[in-house]
């Protein structure tokens, strides 16, 4: 029960409670504080490993920058690409499973990069090899089979932002 470790989980739980209830009455805020403290203390051991990382505002700033890049650039490009392939009468697909090496190290970053890859249409992470540091990615348009170039095309931009956030 480390109170410093629990600051971020408590704050997150409180924000989710207030946003979900959508009111700022005294009843809601006091219930939110009690529930958030209980939930945050219970789950802080699982959620937070490194206290100074979780309290760093720089990392939060990088996360917000990443969210903007992800929603307005990466997602839009990938959606337009796959929509074009679906609607094209010739259906120009070139599918295959390729090895994609990654260079991030913490669990949050690995899951974050994999989730970003899956959530952009056109790439799905099928399996992961943590010893060799490889994702196996099903890619709708295999333009190259060389691991380095695959990394450049699929996940380098996500890793660039998420290393700053989680590593």
């Amino acid at each position: 029960m480390n109170l410093k470790k629990s600051i971020v989980p408590i704050f997150l739980a409180f924000v989710v409670y207030v946003v979900f209830s959508g009111s700022l009455s005294i009843y809601d805020i006091s219930t939110g504080i009690v529930v958030a403290i209980v939930a945050g203390l219970l789950f802080s051991e699982i959620l937070v490993k490194n206290v100074s990382k979780s309290l760093s505002l720089m990392r939060l700033g990088h996360l917000i920058r990443y969210a903007f890049y992800y929603f307005f650039v990466a997602e839009v490009q990938a959606h337009l690409d796959v929509i074009k392939r679906i609607l094209n009468p010739k259906m120009p697909i070139n599918p295959g499973i390729v090895r994609v090496p990654y260079e991030v190290s913490s669990d949050y970053a690995i899951v974050g990069v994999a989730g970003s890859i899956i959530n952009t249409p056109g790439t799905v992470v099928i399996d992961i090899d943590e010893e060799k540091k490889l994702y196996y990615v099903h890619w709708i348009d295999v333009s190259t089979q060389e691991p380095g170039k695959c990394r450049q095309a699929i996940c380098e931009s996500f890793e660039k932002y998420l290393t700053k956030v989680f590593d």
């Binding site: 796959v82 929509i83 599918p95 499973i97 952009t120 099928i126 399996d127 090899d129 196996y136 089979q145």
Partner: protein, 125 residues
């Protein structure tokens, strides 16, 4: 004025979502195998449900019924949960299907995962 802008943005988001859902369903029918169909399903989950949920939230915020903040907040939290959890579902489906080898990866350019799995099994024997 601000209510009108919020409603219009919400309606645009819902229209984009309808388009994405329609294209995703066409893709589900046209694509050749399970793994390629997963890409169409991703269009349906991000463009087809994440955007319209946020759009519905903005429309709720722009109208004038009581407790509108509750609808807005609930829908935003629901959208974020859809965004965080849907990749886990896609990945679980893809991994289980590939391990059980129930769906052929055809047509394909290459399948490095099968090569590496076969290599590992060869080492064990």
């Amino acid at each position: 004025m601000i209510d009108l802008i919020l409603t219009i943005i919400g309606e645009i988001l819902i229209a984009v979502g309808v388009f994405c859902s329609l294209v995703a369903s066409i893709g589900m029918l046209r694509f050749p195998n399970f793994f390629v169909r997963l890409h169409a399903a991703t269009v349906g989950s991000m463009g087809g449900s994440f955007l319209p949920i946020i759009g519905a939230g903005l429309i709720a915020l722009g109208s004038d019924f009581p407790d509108k903040w509750m609808f807005f907040g609930g829908l935003i939290v629901a959208a974020i949960i859809v965004m965080l959890v849907s990749p886990a579902g896609s990945h679980a489906l893809a991994r289980a299907t590939h391990r059980a080898r129930v769906a052929p990866v055809e047509p394909k350019v290459t399948d490095h995962l099968k090569e590496d799995e076969d290599e590992k099994e060869g080492e064990k024997d």
